[in-house]
């Protein structure tokens, strides 16, 4: 069975305990943080297991890449401290079950874009940026065969991830792909962070979607007209697993003439969209989520953002309408990039 590579001694010698002291949803001092993370590491109960909103951020805050978030969710499962009510966990686990037949496997023999469990968002990969790029997981009926499963971190069900993920990797590998551009951060985080952390081999190289977009924009540099928009970026939880690629957000904005507005809740201090918080078992979760959303959007407004850029469809679903109601236009990153090269995404005015 796959086992998490977590080294308790790293936490014992850690000078900052950033994993918990920097948490935006728990107020914990350094001494308490050390005591609690060690309790968790040793399989003991901790209030942090109960209060964690599963935002993934501690995975980025940890200075030695010791996987505190993966540890927390593993222990939540082991100690039966589910962050969500039981029916939501069951519902979530059942959501990922493929039920409409086997996918059609076409051999790519090279690089391909993997839509993962978002085959119904093919409209987001239109135009020159994606010319001649083979795509896998294009059929919404079959997309759960490509579902990276990492969503189950929110459900404290790493057992499900470990059980299903090898089969998903096999399906992707059957396309004979050498490089997989992951449409969603979560897939990229799965293949480059979670899999190595638990010892699952990934038979292809993964490329972050923003890195791909940045490189394509560079190839089309002559066609870029600055978009001249003030933009905020809704950073998704799973991007915490690929913080080394986060610079591409700013790089893309620089390249296309978008002004990345100065905010309080930006980059490492980004706030969760609230989607997972609102359903949690803890008292007041709905209001807590609403408060996080309110602070987040107020911050965007105060910074003068005209546009809120998304990469995660779940964030978009949770927050898109709310930002629009507040006078900020929601747009996906790929569509923003298309604007820069003179293409007009559907619905953009």
């Amino acid at each position: 069975m796959y086992e998490l590579k977590f080294d308790e001694s790293e936490c014992l010698s850690c000078a900052t305990q950033d994993c918990l002291t920097r948490c935006q949803y728990m107020d914990i001092d350094r001494d308490t943080a050390k005591a609690e993370i060690l309790k968790i590491a040793r399989g003991e109960d901790s209030f942090a297991l109960h209060d964690c909103v599963t935002c993934y951020a501690c995975e980025e805050y940890c200075p030695v890449n010791n996987h505190p978030f993966y540890l927390i969710v593993e222990k939540q499962e082991e100690l039966d401290v589910p962050p969500l009510p039981r029916p939501l966990i069951r519902r979530g686990i059942q959501t990922g079950i493929p039920f409409r037949g086997e996918p059609v496997i076409e051999e790519v023999n090279g690089r391909a874009l993997d839509m993962g469990a978002f085959a119904d968002l093919m409209y987001l990969i239109q135009g020159k940026l994606f010319d001649d790029l083979p795509v896998i997981s294009t059929d919404p009926r079959k997309m759960f065969h490509y579902f990276c499963q990492l969503m189950y971190l929110h459900y404290a069900r790493t057992s499900v991830i470990k059980e299903r993920l090898p089969g998903i990797l096999q399906t992707i590998a059957r396309h004979n792909v050498t490089e997989v551009i992951c449409f969603h951060d979560e897939c990229y985080g799965t293949y480059t962070s979670y899999c190595p952390a638990v010892g699952i081999d990934v038979p292809f190289k993964s490329i972050h979607f923003f890195e791909f977009l940045y490189n394509r924009l560079n190839e089309l540099r002559d066609e870029i007209t600055p978009v001249n928009l003030k933009v905020a970026y809704q950073r998704p939880c799973s991007s915490r697993l690929s913080s080394d690629k986060h610079h591409f957000v700013r790089d893309i904005f620089d390249l296309i003439g978008a002004e990345y507005v100065e905010r309080e809740y930006v980059d490492e201090n980004a706030l969760c969209c609230g989607g997972t918080i609102q359903g949690q078992r803890r008292e007041g979760s709905r209001k807590r989520a609403a408060d996080v959303q309110r602070r987040n959007i107020e911050d965007m407004k105060n910074a003068g953002a005209e546009v809120c850029v998304f990469n995660c469809p779940a964030c978009y679903t949770t927050l898109g309408r709310l930002v629009a109601q507040n006078g900020i236009r929601p747009i996906f990153m790929s569509d923003l990039c298309r604007l820069a090269i003179g293409e007009k995404p559907a619905g953009w005015r």
Binding site: P82, L84, P85, R86, P87, L88, R90, R91, G92, Q94, T95, I97, F99, G275, Q278, G279, R281, R282, E283, G284, S285, R286, K287, T318, R321
Partner: protein, 452 residues
């Protein structure tokens, strides 16, 4: 030349009568499992007077008449079992009056749900009506005639409870009005005149509705839907009871289905909440999600899936996608809310026995006075064997409804027979007398509610 055909042409004009097989074929079946029967004529009248003339002709010629609204009942209620004239009422599609202050709309019998919805949205956005889960082409009159329920059923009850007045062409051709309109007043109330109550739930066997006045209700500026889920079906009745006690919701539906897998074995609630301001919306949300359902969330027995703007109506028709061939039919029932767990479990058993993915749904009607519970069965239209399977499952479910102490909603012929077997003999006898008195020649939608 066929004399009935010619007489019909004389009444409505040639372009509104057909005896051509390819057009009659369309009128020979509905979307459910009922065996098709072809009418001899299809007629699309435009006026009440034309309907009167057609009915008089039918009496003279002893030809059956089958009134047809949107044709979406699924239970074969407008299949012409004994041929005759199918009276397609869709051309009678005028919205005759909207009385804003008294909150009602007077419509002709062919006005569809979608037509009234869009008319109100354009002209009276602060008024709404109770639109059912059927496609928007379902008619207002057809829906009240079958005792339908819509998306404000929780506070206001059945759509047939919202009738303020009716105009009917009797089986012998006379026109009758019921409610305040019958004494020359407006169409604002059905009460308090003597109750004759002879035309709703009779499947068009006692007359043809030509006009209906339907109540309208406050249409809130913000309407949205939240979802809640539990594993234990035993919790559904008490949750419906508690939610309806708050009087903060417009619609409460619980459902469970085998496909897609996320819904299997779980009981999902869709709960519609409406408000005129964000402040009112938050107050109602707090009452519903935090105060009423909070105990289930904290104990881990129930989960909140979020709230979104926009209405969501039940879409059992999607069930047809889960089996090759695109067919589906359901048994609807009106049940006490506390039978939900048994309805769910027994429904699953029937579906599994017939190898059909199960789909069940319960909609709270009138402050949980009852629920409409439905069991839906998918079949392949091109495969008689799967249609037979579905038909058997439907019949077993009709039996189940009565066994569990409920009543069958808009029953087909099999269900009507079961109901009549159980009906109080005096009631049954009265039904027989009423039918004989109103329809001495037995021309109205024969086959339905035939008391032997």
């Amino acid at each position: 030349m066929d004399s009935v055909y010619q007489a019909l042409v004389d009444i409505v004009g040639q372009e509104h009568v057909s005896n051509r097989p390819e057009e009659l074929f369309i009128y020979s079946y509905d979307l459910g499992t009922t065996e098709p029967h072809r009418p001899d004529y299809a007629v699309t009248p435009r006026t009440t007077e034309e309907i009167q003339e057609i009915v008089r002709l039918a009496n003279r010629e002893k030809v059956p008449v089958v009134p047809l609204g949107g044709g979406l009942s699924l239970a074969g209620l407008a299949v012409p079992f004994k041929g005759g004239i199918t009276l397609d009422l869709k051309r009678m599609d005028s919205i005759l009056e909207v009385n804003e202050k008294a909150r009602y709309a007077l419509v002709e019998c062919g006005v569809s749900q979608g037509q009234l919805t869009s008319y109100l949205e354009r002209n009276y956005p602060h008024l709404t009506h109770s639109e059912p889960g059927a496609p928007p082409t379902a008619t207002i009159a057809g829906n009240v005639a079958i005792h339908g329920q819509g998306d404000i059923a929780q506070p206001y009850g059945f759509n047939s409870d919202m009738v303020n007045g009716l105009e009917i062409v009797l089986p012998t051709g006379e026109v009758c009005k019921f409610g305040s309109c019958s004494i020359g007043s407006g169409w604002f109330t059905l009460h308090p005149l003597p109750d004759v109550g002879l035309f709703l739930g009779w499947s068009g066997t006692t007359g043809i509705i030509t006009k209906v006045s339907i109540r309208l209700f406050p249409g809130r500026r913000i309407r949205g839907v939240g979802q809640f889920v539990v594993e234990d079906e035993e919790l559904v009745p008490e949750i419906m009871y508690k939610l309806s006690h708050t009087q903060m919701t417009e619609d409460i539906i619980a459902f469970s289905q085998a496909i897609p897998p996320f819904a299997s074995g779980l009981q999902h609630f869709t709960i519609n909440i409406a408000a005129d301001s964000e402040k009112e919306l938050e107050f109602k949300q707090e009452m519903v999600w935090d105060d009423t359902l909070g105990e289930y969330i904290r104990s881990g027995a129930g989960g909140f899936l979020g709230f979104r703007s926009g209405l969501q109506r039940p879409q059992v028709s999607k069930t047809s996608d889960w089996r090759k061939g695109g067919g589906f039919e359901y048994v609807g029932s009106i049940m006490p809310v506390d039978t939900y767990p048994e309805c769910y479990r027994r429904g699953r058993e029937i579906s599994e026995r017939h190898e059909i993915p199960y789909t069940v749904l319960g909609r709270c009607v009138g402050t949980a006075h009852a629920m409409m519970f439905s069991w839906t069965y998918a079949f392949n239209r091109a495969d008689p064997e799967t249609m037979k399977q579905a038909r058997e499952a439907l019949h077993e479910t009709d039996d189940l409804v009565l066994e569990l102490g409920g009543t069958i909603w808009k029953p087909g012929l099999y269900g009507q027979k079961l109901v009549m077997e159980r009906l109080d003999p005096n009631t049954l006898n009265l039904m027989k007398k009423i039918k004989q008195m109103l329809d001495p020649n037995g021309i109205m939608n024969p086959g339905n509610w035939e008391v032997s």
